[in-house]
């Protein structure tokens, strides 16, 4: 690469790193995600700072057009970052689902508590009463409302 290209690359990378650090400081970006991007930035800094490095590495790997190596490595790192995002996204979706499910159950329990003992089930002879009045804090309806703690 020409000297001019190296200077341009160095400036771009410096700007990118500045932006990342700024985002982290303002808490728009979590530190753990910034690490990934800073790794990418650091890697670019090394390439920009050591002029002969890219050419030398490309020659050793048998790559005749040096920028290919840059693109290849950049792409590999980006792929890693995107995969990490997919992983995080799956985990977050799982947590959101679990929270939604818990909230549905808790909402029902809260309603039962607010309404006092046997509630929410008008006109159901086949068991609605039992299912709604037996949350903790309610009086057991059938003398033997045993709580098995053993």
């Amino acid at each position: 690469m020409s000297t001019r290209a190296h200077i341009m690359l160095a400036i771009l990378v410096a700007m990118a790193i500045l932006v990342i650090v700024r985002l982290v400081r303002r808490r728009h970006l979590k530190a753990k995600y910034s690490l990934l991007w800073l790794t990418l930035g650091g890697f670019m800094v090394v390439i920009a700072a050591v002029p002969g490095l890219l050419d030398w590495t490309a020659a050793r790997l048998g790559i005749y057009y040096q920028p290919t190596l840059l693109i290849l490595l950049g792409l590999a790192l980006l792929l890693l970052i995107v995969m990490h995002f997919s992983y995080e996204l799956s985990r977050m979706e799982n947590r959101v689902r679990t929270l939604a499910e818990e909230s549905a159950i808790l909402r029902h329990r809260l309603r039962v508590l607010e309404q006092g003992a046997p509630a929410t089930t008008p006109g159901d002879a086949s068991g609605g009463a039992e299912e709604s009045d037996d949350w903790p804090g309610d009086e057991p309806t059938n003398g033997s409302g045993v709580t098995d703690q053993a």
């Binding site: 499910e101 909230s103 549905a104 029902h108 089930t121 068991g127 609605g128 039992e130 299912e131 098995d148």
Partner: protein, 252 residues
């Protein structure tokens, strides 16, 4: 279960009752007759409707018809709704559960047949439309797709099922616990759940049941969506973990 657990999951009041888990998304038309049908049986059923983020009066109608209603804050899809029901069942200590459609295609009179194998040691029972009873018909392309799935499932589950997508099922306590912890969340969940239970080493059986035409709502069978889920489910099935850990106390 830990002795220090203060949660209601150690309670025994619900052990002899049967929880009927009814996932419902905008089912206000069909729900009253479905719930009336369930009320009319002589079985000790506790009906729990899971309102999966409906925009109509599903929740109010469920409550007015004597069911417990668990309201999800937004639509999770049928798998999420079912898992909510399984969680609730396990928290309260139910030992037997039924999965029942809100749209009226399942017949409450068949529940006894679905429960019978549980008493004989089965962990999960699937009500089949094709195993001999009833007169339910599906279209040809759907039939072919179902055949391929059936083959894949036979390979993975090590067992033959005639109706893998049936949502009319009964569960014993161990399968309830399994599904409360982990249940396939996307469309065609029933197929994945079936394979999950088989591969976890549970005794899964099938009984012939009569089913009706749907009485309300829209069947989820738009073809491109179906095709996508079909491929997805095949990939997902191939990756179902084979965990040979039967719960304590169960014969292998």
């Amino acid at each position: 279960m830990p002795a220090t657990d203060p949660s209601p999951r150690t309670r025994t009041e619900f052990a002899d009752r049967i929880i009927v888990i009814v996932p419902a998304f905008n089912e206000q038309e069909a729900l009253p007759s479905t719930l009336a049908g369930l009320r009319a049986t002589a079985l000790p059923l506790d009906v729990v409707v899971i309102d999966d983020g409906s925009t109509d009066d599903t929740a109010a109608i469920a409550t007015a018809n004597g069911a417990v209603c668990l309201q999800l804050p937004f639509n999770l899809g049928i798998g999420g709704a079912l898992r909510t029901g399984f969680r609730y069942a396990v928290e309260l200590g139910y030992q037997r559960g039924i999965q029942f459609d809100a749209d009226g295609q399942h017949d409450p009179s068949q529940i006894e047949a679905l429960l019978a194998p549980l008493a004989e040691g089965a962990d999960m029972v699937v009500g089949s439309r094709f195993a001999g009873a009833g007169d339910y018909r599906v279209g040809r392309s759907r039939g072919v797709a179902m055949n391929i799935l059936r083959w894949a499932i036979r390979r993975l589950a090590g067992q033959r099922f005639t109706d893998t997508s049936s949502g009319f099922r009964s569960f014993g306590p161990d399968v309830l616990a399994l599904f409360a912890a982990e249940y396939p969340i996307e469309y065609m969940d029933s197929v994945e759940a079936l394979v999950m239970a088989c591969r976890a080493g549970f005794d899964v059986r099938e009984v012939p049941t009569v089913m009706h035409e749907r009485t309300g709502g829209v069947a989820s069978n738009r073809s491109f969506r179906l095709a996508y889920h079909y491929v997805r489910v095949l990939v997902s099935l191939a990756n179902t973990p084979k965990a040979q850990r039967r719960p304590a106390g169960a014969p292998s």
